[in-house]
């Protein structure tokens, strides 16, 4: 396992960067669709995408969300340790790459802004997708507004403290 260096604009502040070198036909991406489906079902079935769950979390009236995120972090961390320890490769034999996150003040300012929006909408970006699929069509507007927010951030980026 190696840590990727930031080399181009695509890496700036992105968390999900494709480090794969193998060329695939488009339908190879269907495997991500399948992972997404399982993920989306989990979101709805555990009621993680419930606006009320998010209120409970921040009002400290339920353990549910802390349990979900805590378990996910522990399972994720153990998995990463196993990958490191046994030097597990991708299905195509490539070395697994973890992007190193650089600290900048955006994590504070942006984090606070996202936190405020999270409690208002009851959703982070993932649940917005699940809401739309679950039939809450009006959340399509919230989604477009989130795209607009991302665009305005990109536009103002050089003027913002980082």
């Amino acid at each position: 396992m190696k840590n990727a260096e930031n080399t181009d604009m695509r890496h700036t502040d992105a968390v999900c960067v494709n480090e794969e070198q193998v060329k695939h036909p488009w339908w190879d991406n269907l495997k991500y669709l399948i992972v997404g489906i399982v993920f989306g079902i989990t979101f709805v079935k555990a009621e993680i995408v419930s606006w009320f769950r998010i209120q409970e979390m921040f009002q400290l009236t339920s353990f549910h969300m802390y349990g979900v995120i805590g378990t996910a972090v522990v399972v994720g961390a153990i998995s990463i340790q196993i990958i490191k320890r046994f030097n597990i490769k991708t299905l195509y034999g490539e070395e697994i790459v973890i992007n190193k996150k650089e600290f900048n003040k955006g994590q504070i300012y942006g984090g606070l802004m996202f936190g405020i929006g999270w409690a208002i909408t009851g959703a982070c970006p993932g649940p917005l997708f699940a809401h739309i699929g679950a039939g809450f069509t009006v959340i399509g507007v919230t989604f477009l507004s989130a795209v607009a927010g991302t665009w305005v951030y990109g536009y103002l980026r050089d003027k913002l403290p980082h």
Partner: protein, 187 residues
């Protein structure tokens, strides 16, 4: 079996599934778990303008859209084929807090009195659906990730900047849930 799936899933089941997404994406294609970057890729593909932040090869990130499309489909499947017949679970204390603030619908994932086409153009709806969404989009990109990228992927890989981001998400959320949301509900 189907009956078991239809019940609301406990937190540890959800946590295990979500946690396993991290190694799954790494092993099937060296992808770091993250969702909010999708929004950036949409900007880069559709409305890059002259903004340097959106000038990159977004085609390399198409996998992320497939993942997001899967979440939409998963939401559809869960709601239409695996739905729980009962009302969703809400803690009593939160129920009474919200009832005091004016929420009346506690049956579904989103309260219909706030999130609906009818209320979209009311002042309250505007803040909950449009301003809220804007803050999510702006804030996640400014922070460089959301709950998946920072709180789950970042903490799983023991990166301290993600811990800072996660703590800030929580501080923002507490302030919002205690002071801003009750105010907005009263609009």
């Amino acid at each position: 079996m189907l009956e078991l799936i239809q019940q609301p899933w406990p937190w540890y089941v959800a946590g295990i599934f979500i946690g396993l997404t991290v190694p799954t994406l790494l092993i099937v294609g060296n992808k770091s778990f993250g969702i909010s970057s999708n929004l950036r890729h949409i900007c880069a593909a559709c409305i890059p303008g002259n903004v340097k932040f959106f000038q990159y090869d977004w085609k390399k990130e198409i996998w992320n859209w497939f993942f997001a499309a899967g979440i939409v489909l998963g939401g559809f499947i869960a709601m239409n084929f695996l739905a729980n017949p009962d009302a969703i679970q809400v803690a009593d204390a939160t129920k009474s807090n919200l009832r005091e603030a004016g929420v009346t619908d506690f049956t579904n994932l989103l309260p219909a009195d706030i999130f609906s086409w009818d209320s979209l153009l009311s002042l309250r709806g505007f803040f909950f659906m449009i301003v809220g969404g804007f803050l999510v989009g702006f804030g996640t990109r400014y922070a460089g990730g959301c709950t998946s990228g920072h709180a789950i992927m970042g903490l799983s890989t023991l990166q301290w900047p993600s811990l800072v981001a996660t703590i800030c998400f929580m501080i923002g959320g507490f302030v919002s849930a205690w002071f801003i949301v009750p105010f907005l509900l009263g609009l």
